[in-house]
């Protein structure tokens, strides 16, 4: 029997699901290997049990966490898909700011006053904390990046179907810059997070002339002290550094270092 596969989205732009749908040239071959039972971006319908559940998005509210736990309980394999699910992504930056302050920034003081006086007024922002999927349930595999890398998605599906162990890069982005013979971003006069960021993206941003902002999260045992010192030596002040570290890595320990140590 073909494995039953489902896709679920939480707080996200659904860009990762679109990236999956964009694997056009092999999508039909992939579909021949699996049965997709839930996929809001493409089909309607539900199933009681999943062989593989792909989770897109960060977990912001307690009701989201409940829904996620329920999916986990009914799934043999659970995959966190994309930066939101893996590390919290940009929305997790709000974790560094008090909720009332966030609300004032977005909606002004009128609503902020209302939230403090009106018990019925309980908007979406009043979540406790933006969490990565692995902070709520056990995650079997992570497809990192914003958005995910289609080749890694295909590799994972193939491995799951074939029963082999999928392999994902745990090395720094630098490896892939060397493979593409890129001029180092530091030699172009900019600064970069490639040394502490997980590769697997083929250094796509740097290869195309930008720098790495770390959307794939940290390498294991990232030398954060050295990286902080390096950025400081290039003239970045601590506020800029904290902003850089938190852009995608907010739910990662690095973002927290940026907060506790340097503000």
């Amino acid at each position: 029997m073909k494995p039953k596969v489902a896709f679920f989205d939480f707080a996200s732009c659904e860009g990762c699901q679109l990236a999956v749908l964009n694997c056009e040239d092999i999508l039909l071959d992939l579909l021949a290997l699996v049965d997709i039972v839930e996929f809001r971006e493409a089909i309607t319908g539900t199933a009681p049990y999943y062989d593989v559940a792909f989770i897109e998005g960060s977990i912001n509210r307690e009701q989201d966490a409940e829904r996620l736990r329920d999916i986990r309980a009914r799934s043999a394999v659970l995959v966190a898909m994309g930066a939101c699910a893996c590390i919290g992504n940009v929305q997790a930056r709000s974790n560094f700011i008090a909720p009332a302050e966030n609300f004032k920034r977005v909606y002004g003081s009128e609503e902020r006053n209302q939230v403090q006086s009106d018990p019925e007024f309980w908007p979406l922002w009043a979540h406790t904390r933006v969490r990565a999927v692995r902070e709520v349930v056990k995650v079997d595999y992570e497809l990192r990046g914003c958005p995910l890398v289609p080749e890694e998605f295909v590799h994972l599906v193939k491995s799951l179907v074939a029963g082999t162990i999928p392999r994902f890069a745990a090395h720094a982005v630098c490896v892939e810059c060397k493979m593409h013979e890129n001029t180092c971003v530091f030699d172009r006069g900019d600064t970069c997070m490639g040394q502490i960021t997980r590769g697997g993206c083929q250094a796509i941003c740097i290869t195309n002339g930008y720098r790495c902002d770390g959307c794939r999260g940290l390498v294991p045992n990232a030398n954060m002290a050295a990286h902080l010192g390096l950025l400081q030596s290039k003239g970045l002040d601590n506020r800029e550094i904290a902003n850089r570290y938190r852009l995608f890595c907010s739910a990662e320990p690095l973002g927290r270092v940026g907060r506790s140590g340097h503000e």
Partner: protein, 350 residues
């Protein structure tokens, strides 16, 4: 063999001419800063001055970042049919400096020893090398003279030296001879005299020098297993692997199998670069890692360059002194400094 004295224009025209018949790589600028060995075409600029070591060494053209080793198909009888993938397209690597010529020579050794590597050797057999001498060190990272690379030219088929606005072009092999046939280059009248003049023009001292006699280095490195020097130089290290991947004598790789999604009985085995500074390099079955500490990995890298491999290949050093690792390390960690620190430390605590 023969030697010619040729103008810059004639050399450039000749290189362009050679590039018409086959792929010819020459160090070039391409938008971003830094030189790359790129195929020469009509728009290419043939420049010899202002040379800085290319980002990747030219020898990597013989062992690319990723390559299929073989394709397989499992037949109905369950027996796989294996088809090796070999690249026998002819190519010329031109403008290869002495350090990188020696790098290719060292790669030849490791690829011939033990289990010879047909993928590397097939490309190598189809490769002609046009070397180019250095009369001044390329920058402050270079230490080719200290490791005995500066005067290396043995494996060049042709060798160019820029002197007094002209080029001395020395033919060193039959394959080199074929590339200059019908060129009518003027012969060099006094080769011995010109060579003496070239030596007199060469910068002295040339690049950075060791704190001890080079012959003592393998012994010193061997004696310093538990030196504090290892920890000192790894404090800022990111374990990013850059120093491995830009090195002309690093050749480690890993392999993976890719089956075809439309026909899972067929697929290919692909190899790709790996490096001993990378954290997962020493991870084996079951997840055990026999070299988990960055300092141990750094020590292993240095020992490969200055102790293990030079012993195996009976050469002075497996580092060519190109300086790429130190030049491209964003943490500013330089193997030359590590070895000099080991020397200094050995003087105090032998």
């Amino acid at each position: 063999m023969t030697a010619f004295l040729v103008s810059l224009d004639a050399v450039s025209a000749w290189i362009r001419h050679l590039a018409c018949g086959q792929t010819l790589y020459f160090p070039q600028q391409s938008g971003q800063s830094g030189l790359r060995f790129l195929p020469v075409d009509n728009d290419s600029e043939i420049r010899f001055d202002g040379y800085q070591p290319s980002l990747a060494p030219p020898g990597k053209k013989l062992a690319p970042a990723e390559e299929p080793l073989f394709r397989y198909r499992v037949g109905t009888d369950g027996i796989p049919v294996i088809q090796p993938v070999l690249d026998a397209s002819p190519r010329i690597l031109a403008g290869v400096r002495p350090c990188d010529l020696r790098g290719i020579h060292l790669l030849d050794q490791v690829n011939q020893q033990g289990h010879p590597d047909p993928h590397y050797l097939t490309r190598r057999q189809q490769t002609v090398l046009i070397g180019c001498d250095c009369l001044t060190p390329c920058d402050e990272h270079c230490f080719c003279d200290a490791v005995g690379s500066l005067r290396w030219r043995e494996n060049a088929d042709l060798f160019l030296t820029r002197i007094d606005g002209q080029f001395l072009l020395e033919v060193q092999t039959e394959a080199g001879q074929r590339l200059v046939a019908n060129q009518n280059f003027p012969a060099c009248p006094d080769l011995a005299g010109l060579k003496a003049h070239i030596e007199a023009q060469r910068a002295k001292p040339f690049g950075r020098q060791w704190h001890a006699d080079a012959g003592r280095i393998p012994g010193i490195v061997a004696s310093q297993w538990s030196s504090p020097v290892w920890d000192k130089h790894v404090e800022r290290c990111f374990s990013c692997g850059t120093c491995n991947l830009v090195c002309p004598t690093c050749y480690c790789f890993d392999v993976r199998d890719d089956f075809q999604i439309e026909d899972p009985s067929a697929g290919q085995r692909v190899r790709h670069w790996d490096g001993c500074m990378l954290p997962q390099f020493a991870q084996v079955a079951g997840g055990h890692d026999f070299r988990p500490a960055p300092a141990a990995r750094q020590r292993h890298r240095v020992k490969r360059k200055f102790e293990y491999l030079n012993e195996r290949c009976a050469t002075t050093s497996f580092c060519t002194g190109c300086g790429r690792c130190g030049r491209q390390c964003t943490a500013g960690i330089d193997i030359f400094d590590i070895v000099n620190d080991l020397i200094d430390h050995a003087e105090v605590t032998p």
